[in-house]
């Protein structure tokens, strides 16, 4: 697995597009903080405000960018035919899928952590907030979960890209799923449905307080909702990869 992770890291880092996407995550957070900081200069910020600035506000952007990074793991392979060199290097297809999912998880999470760290540093400079807020465990829980979720979404994108044999469709599926299907489900069935919907359950988990997201509190099994969807997609992708010939899309 170590060789596969190094292979994936070298694959991702050797493309300028990966770095553009990573800087987009950090840059968006810093620009947003700068805009807010200049607008509310020297206004006091509480722990919930910090959590909002460094995690929740950019969560969707981070997920989307991380999804694009994850989708490229298989999307590029199918588009440019590099799936063949990949499978020649690592002929066990389940292992390839797992390696790409883990590598994308790590990169997505690292990008989110870097963005949260940069955002917090800028907020320290621009706003008035007491350092004692850092002792609030709920703030750190929110940051930690925001980081983990930014890793889970690209892992899902890896599976979807393997199924769709392309990155564009995988990202579109995530956008439609998280941005259209789930909100419409909430409208139709009420906020309680968020407990079983993958993206909204992630939002519930990362919230500093349940009320702050107007989604209600997460259910007792909220931890398992997204991983279950992820497991289903990765299982389907494993079966599809095993049954299909290594051809381009």
């Amino acid at each position: 697995m170590t060789e596969l992770l190094v292979f994936e890291w070298r694959r991702m880092r050797s493309l300028r597009g990966t770095w553009v996407l990573l800087w987009l995550v950090v840059g968006f957070a810093l620009l947003a903080d700068l805009a807010v900081g200049l607008g509310k200069f020297r206004e006091p910020v509480d722990a919930e405000g910090v959590a909002f600035h460094v995690v929740q506000r950019d969560l969707i952007v981070r997920w989307l960018v991380a999804a694009a990074i994850g989708a490229q793991a298989f999307g590029h392979d199918f588009r440019y035919g590099t799936i063949r060199p990949t499978l020649l290097a690592f002929p066990r297809r389940r292992q390839v899928l797992a390696g790409k999912a883990v590598a994308s998880f790590l990169l997505g999470a690292a990008a989110a952590l870097a963005a949260s760290t940069a955002s917090m540093a800028l907020l320290l400079v621009l706003s008035t907030w007491d350092g004692s807020l850092l002792a609030d465990p709920r703030l750190w829980r929110s940051i930690a979960l925001g980081t983990v979720t930014a890793g889970l979404v690209p892992a899902l994108a890896v599976g979807l890209a393997a199924l769709a044999r392309g990155s564009g469709l995988a990202v579109v599926m995530i956008v439609l799923w998280g941005g259209v299907v789930e909100p419409l489900t909430i409208v139709g069935l009420g906020g309680g449905a968020a407990r079983v919907l993958p993206f909204l359950s992630l939002l519930q988990l990362t919230a500093y307080t349940p009320v702050s997201q107007d989604l209600g509190s997460p259910g007792p099994l909220a931890w398992t909702v997204f991983p279950l969807y992820l497991a289903a997609v990765l299982t389907a992708a494993t079966i599809a990869l095993a049954r299909q010939d290594a051809t381009t899309s």
Binding site: E3, L4, V6, F7, R10, R11, S14, L15, R16, G17, H76, Y80, G81, T82, I83, R84, P85, L87, L88, A89, F90, P91, R92, R243, Q244, D245, A246, T247
Partner: protein
């Protein structure tokens, strides 16, 4: 050693590869020939498990997917264009080096070996076909594998490059590697291959040493010049040869080797001024062999 057993692949109703079995010996260059659509590339993909199908291929006794570090056992170049166009040659090889568990120094060595050091940092998308082929070869050689599987490696190479490739592959075989090369360049394969596998319509039409394949061609013959041509012709016909007169003292002999002609002449104290084997070209032998086995032919004569 590479052992392929019962390789079979069907695309819908088309049998692309039909129960193919062969062995690729170490220390030899084995040429893999066949007309377009014969199933050569499909066979190579099947051997490496890239496409699903029947049969199995063993590399040093194990299937490809069971090899602990496959790139150290088999170096494959199937489609040179399978590269990300925005990745540099060096980054492409460094990525594969991680999989092959070899150092970055080895990456620089193979780049130098294939002559790509000056363009190592350039994006592969800007490479010519010849440069891309060289990069594909570098990837195949990266982990110093015990076997090489190369699909049309000479495509896009200039004459100098083809000569370089020939020397490279002969050197690889001389070091004990099993080298399997598919190619359309028959003249080149005649110079390069010790052994030939010939495919037509998914079936194996020939699996024999290059010399023997050329020798049994209808166009291979023995040229004899002798002042006793009449008497020699009678003796040769009696031995079962087919003899054609091509001049007053010149005979074209088919169906018998130069060695037999020479011994017959010596036995009957006949003078010889010239005795030479004239092997058919690989092109002639190949065309005889695949006659009727061509998938795509001008004028609609082939199977479409």
């Amino acid at each position: 050693m590479i052992q392929a057993r019962g390789l079979t692949k069907r695309f819908g109703s088309t049998l692309a590869v039909d129960d193919l079995s062969f062995v690729v010996e170490p220390g030899k260059v084995t040429g893999f020939l066949g007309p377009n659509g014969a199933g050569k590339s499909t066979t190579l993909h099947l051997m490496l498990g890239l496409i699903r199908g029947g049969g199995r291929t063993l590399f040093d006794g194990r299937p490809y997917r069971e090899l602990a570090c496959p790139m150290r056992v088999v170096g494959a170049m199937l489609e040179a264009r399978a590269l990300h166009p925005r990745r540099s040659a060096r980054d492409h090889l460094r990525m594969l080096a991680a999989a092959a568990r070899v150092s970055d120094r080895r990456v620089d060595q193979v780049l130098d070996q294939v002559g790509l050091t000056p363009v190592a940092h350039r994006r592969a998308g800007g490479f010519s076909l010849g440069m891309t082929q060289r990069l594909g070869l570098a990837a195949a050689l990266l982990a110093e594998p015990r076997a090489l599987l190369l699909d049309e490696p000479a495509n896009g190479l200039d004459p100098h490059g083809v000569a370089w490739l020939r020397a490279l592959l002969r050197a690889q075989a001389a070091q004990g590697r099993a080298v399997l090369v598919s190619s359309h360049l028959l003249a080149e394969m005649q110079l390069l291959a010790d052994h030939l596998l010939v495919m037509g319509r998914g079936r194996l039409l020939a699996d024999e040493p290059t010399d023997r394949l050329l020798g049994r061609s209808r166009r291979s013959h023995v040229l004899v010049r002798s002042p006793d041509a009449d008497r020699l012709a009678e003796l040769l016909v009696a031995e079962g040869a087919t003899v054609q007169r091509s001049g007053a003292s010149e005979l074209t002999v088919l169906g018998i080797s130069a060695q037999v002609v020479g011994e017959l002449a010596h036995e009957h104290r006949l003078r010889l001024h010239e005795l030479a084997s004239r092997n058919a070209s690989l092109e002639a032998a190949f065309l005889e062999l695949v006659d009727g086995e061509v998938e795509y032919l001008q004028g609609g004569a082939g199977r479409q």
